[in-house]
Amino acid sequence: MAPISIIESLRQQITSCEAQLEDLRRQLAEAEHYQQQRREQDGLRQTTSAFLDPLTHDMSYGIHDDFRSEVFAALSQVEDDSPSRKWPLDRTEYKRYGRQLIMPEIGLQGQLRLKHASVLVIGVGGLGCPAAAYLAGAGVGTLGLADGDVVEESNLHRQILHSTSRIGMTKVDSARVALNSLNPNVKFIAHSRLSPESAISTIQKYDLVLDCTDTPASRYLISDACVLLGKPLVSASALRTDGQLMVLNNPPQPPGDTRGGPCYRCVFPKPPPAESVVSCGDGGILGPVVGVMGVLQALEAIKVLARQTKSGFNNSTPPVAEPPTLLIFSAYANPIFRSIRLRTRKPKCAACSAQASVTHAALNSGSLDYVQFCGSISPINALASNERISVENYAKIRLDVNPFTGMEPSKDSHILVDVREKVQFDLCSLEGSVNIPFSVVTTTPAIGSNGAGNGDQDEEGRDWVSELKRHPEKPIFVVCRLGNDSQLSVKKMKQLGLDHGGQRWIGDIRGGLNAWRENVESDFPDY
């Protein structure tokens, strides 16, 4: 098995590198073509040929020839002595940003503020990609990109800056390639994954921060650092069909100043229990849901930056800011958006109130343990070793003739329970397995307990228990995607008395279908 998978992996890597090379060649060709065009255009201006289309003879560019040469002369002169330039933006910038420049919300001053602004995008995934694309497009002068991951195939349905040819490249590098071809005027700065030790020094250099990360710990860390440094923070998140958006610490007054905007801790003082935190990989995410949240982050950032007159918190009058809101997006609800009015800073907030315990010193010394604060889940190890079976041994039970008894393998000799949710079970499953979703298993009340809800529901929820009890002699193998839920399900099944006081074997398949694919059936779908 192993050598084949190495060969396969090498083949894939070669294909990926070749695709990257192809992409770079294409970009080089585009860049050369663009340069060539520029040269030709400049050349055309100097020669101002009068022998093209007779109709344009006198009035090409909408100006009479005589004037035209004067205009071009003036324009090229402007280009030549750029220090004492007549116009505050470059000629190309008027063109590129024209559609937003003519809006009163932006105008020349707003565009100049964007040009002189620096924004740090933390996380270049489903939120960070669209956010960074619109910020680069709008002409934000400096964009910092922080992420420690590499591009994976399962990112591409939503992380719009990355591409098939850049699978395996770091997300930051991939995003820079895409953003640079979108707007080469923007300065891009690469950062690795943000840590408590690096947060202050990284965020310090920027005017505004976008939290596009995917864990509770990073959300508290970024919010704390932004409060300490006086940076407005645009925070968004998304999972499945839901999204949330907040502009925090805006205006960014120092901790204890009640005129400042609330921080993440004001809104969510307690982190969710670690075992209830679901990632996009486990819970799923619809591309446009996270996309819409990322686009809104860019919008809010542009609103703050283009309006802002001063930055930092050393000025006596705080800049005007919109009242703080929490925008809830729920793709299948009506209305699809709800805007919640937030309160001002929480009087006892640990980060932004006068009683704050989150300080520069505490953050820098590493005494604030964000991972501990948010809790962590170690890999589940809930069962004894005799309650578990490896995929290889389970495969023998299914596929091989028993070497001792000479018995033909049989799927009827046991019951295989797949506890993934139905939608995943429907994607792919092992032949003969029965689906009892983990959510059903965990919510089934034990016999004799007076669970809440009505009796019918209890009966309905217990159907699977009676079904499994009808074959008391058959051992039960429990499988899930990764091998965690299966262990908890085995425990629950024993609590429900399905092991008949230890007479029937119930156990889990170690490592789940993931291990099955890696070690037994390589073409079992990987989703």
Partner: protein, 93 residues
């Protein structure tokens, strides 16, 4: 869309919707905001520890703070026709 007489409506978002298995329902009013969690715990055992403890709660699209006996809205009463929402933090992206 308005809740039935003598009731308020409660909306469940994200993890709260997953836990309760519904996106909204109607509950009897009036009820003290601070006893809302206990009432929900009766209906959905385990919801306080798994969901509510970290949630934002809103009434009529306004954030309410009912955490601790010196909380600003400790004495708030949810009245007939009000709309309450349970909003767990979403952290993914």
């Amino acid at each position: 869309m308005a809740p039935a007489k003598g009731h308020f409506s409660i909306l469940y978002f994200a993890a709260a919707a997953t836990f309760t298995g519904r996106s909204s329902e109607e509950l009897p009013a009036p009820v003290k905001a601070r006893s809302l969690f206990a009432q929900l715990e009766d209906r959905y055992p385990g919801i306080t520890a798994k969901v509510l403890s970290s949630c934002a709660v809103t009434m009529n699209l306004e954030y309410i703070d009912i955490d601790g006996d010196d909380a600003p809205q400790w004495d708030l009463v949810i009245q007939e026709g009000d709309e309450v929402a349970i909003i767990p933090p979403v952290s993914s992206g």
